[in-house]
Amino acid sequence: MPEIAGRRSALGWALNLSALALVLLWTFPTAGLLVSSFRTADQIAGSGWWRAMVPADRNLILRAAPPAAQREHEGLFVLEGNLFDEADAPRAAISAFGVSSRAIDAHRPGTTAELRNGERIEVAANGDYRHSSAQAMQGRRGQRVFVTATIAPSFTLDNYRHVLLDPHNVEGMSRAFFNTLTVTIPATIIPILVAAFAAYALAWMAFPGRALLVAAIVGLLVVPLQLALIPLLKLHNDLGIGKGYVGVWLAHTGFGLPLAIYLLRNYMVGLPREIIENARVDGASELQIFVRIVLPLSFPALASFAIFQFLWTWNDLLVALVFLIDSSGETTVMTKNLLELLGTRGGNWEILATSAFVSIALPLLVFFSLQRYLVRGLLAGSVKGG
């Protein structure tokens, strides 16, 4: 049945092409950021990042050597050299040049342009020029030449050097990077520990009120943390914690706990009953069962919550703004730093793009290497609710 086979392969093509279009649409924004972070400010302003891979036409203003360098040759005063070398710019292929700002592409390379008072300048495609005059040339600066040059694609690491390694750059990301790390690690580890014990009790210990507690935790899952800001800030101030790392660690622990307990409990409930009952019969205490049996078996769930909490604390802005960053700005985190850059450096895309990429690099790395656990956690957390 050739028609059906033909239809099926046409459908396969359509499927593959639509999937490709969707994937391209979804990766295009991030690709723009990544590519822009390797371009200079001039390149970014000169052309869209999607043209970074192809040679670009750019308009440059170059100068011939100053009259001081002129030589007399067979009755003519002559200046010779290369326009790109005079400007210390990389060589490029010239497609047109001009000597007036009103006609910057009036002449083809290899031809001669007439200047005022009988001077002439000849510019070759590679930038070599010959500027000649019947009288001695006057003035301090060399003749201005407008060129349209085709510049080969090039990329630079300077932006990263500036953003990460420059010790004089007060807006740099290196300190914010370490601050973010300092927030993230305790804020990921502590809730796991606290939640694991609670989840075990909710999954495998019988006591009155258990169902009610589970329901309450499901309810707390969706409580907006916005409600907690002022009361907790007041509490932290009353306790003398104030704004700082301790406050932000505690806050992240509190806000992450419902999801941690929920995920871990759902996973632990699914562990085989016989293992735990057998251990109880053999006289193991609850603490032993938990530490020796349940915790190791729950590793996938622990990992998936750890990834969630890591991503969430790393990417958080609001909690850090309220509980961590004081007026000294010493404890700024990367999201806050990015926000400041958006305000002060709104047009400097080389700095913005590089800083943004620095801030998303580690989460992306974690995401791609541990995606398996992330997906598993999502499925445990959501599908069951249906």
Binding site: N16, G32, S47, F197, V223, A228, L257, L287, L379
Partner: protein
Amino acid sequence: MNAALQGLITILLGVGGCVAYYTLSNLLVDTLLFPARGPHQARNIRRANLVRPWLFLAPALFVLAVYLAYPVIETLRLSLSERVAGDGSRFVGFANYVQMLSESKFREAMRNNLLWLVVVPAAATAFGLLAARLTDRIRWGSLAKSLIFMPMAISFVGAAVIFKLIYDFRPPGQAQIGALNALVLFLGGSEPRAWLTMPLWNNFFLMAVLVWIQTGFAMVILSAALRGIPEETIEAAIIDGAGPFQLFFRIQVPQIRGTIAVVWTTITVVVLKIFDIVFAMTNGQWGTQVLANYMYDKLFRAGDWGVGSASAVVLMLLVTPILVWNVANARREMR
């Protein structure tokens, strides 16, 4: 690296403290309070088993009570009072709510939140369903899934930077480095536009950021649900002559209705709390205010705890139906 050291000490203290607490408290119950020996052995074991769950739960319950339950109540109280000079506060009834309702910025925030609430979950779920369906049937599906899922790892602020580059505007005549303006000009548009300052439309440009982030989540969940549909159902439909579109919309989608509802409500909760994207991209200017950003303005810029708390309570009220629905589902499942 003073802070790093502090962090390390905190981890050790936190972990060590937790371990010490759980070990010692269990030891206390087992050996001192209710030892499993002597004349009251049976009674002691029973009592120890009665107490032990609460030992395991106590730290978590304490943190949940202080960091989530207490703030809800305290916010309610704050929303009904106003700060007075010094450190006290005074009960003012619903005055904060009345004032809030009279502010045009609040009404704008409500309108925008409702727009977000309709558009983002619908669009993210629809795109997620499309992506799930497309990537389940191709050979490089898992790679495609990874790439569509990737924005989930990116912070809202990072995404704001990414999309600001897309919406970038340069005056006519200059090279447009924003992809959207470049596309508009390429397709024959007459002039570039400053997308983020176009009233009403700019809301949709902000929503696009969240749709971009949330689609991957929807895709992952829905793809798992689609694969969970029994093969026989699909085979039967194909034998009965259902085409691919019929199969999808009449057989597969109805079967995963429950999962679609879960995805929809999960994204809805995210949308209700949306803050960072608006804060970073427009800060609520040009008619893009949303509730969470309005609240932040009130609490931390204007220092008005009363109205700020009142708007937080509105946020809580909006989440409550989902909360009730989730709890009801969870209880049904436990039975």
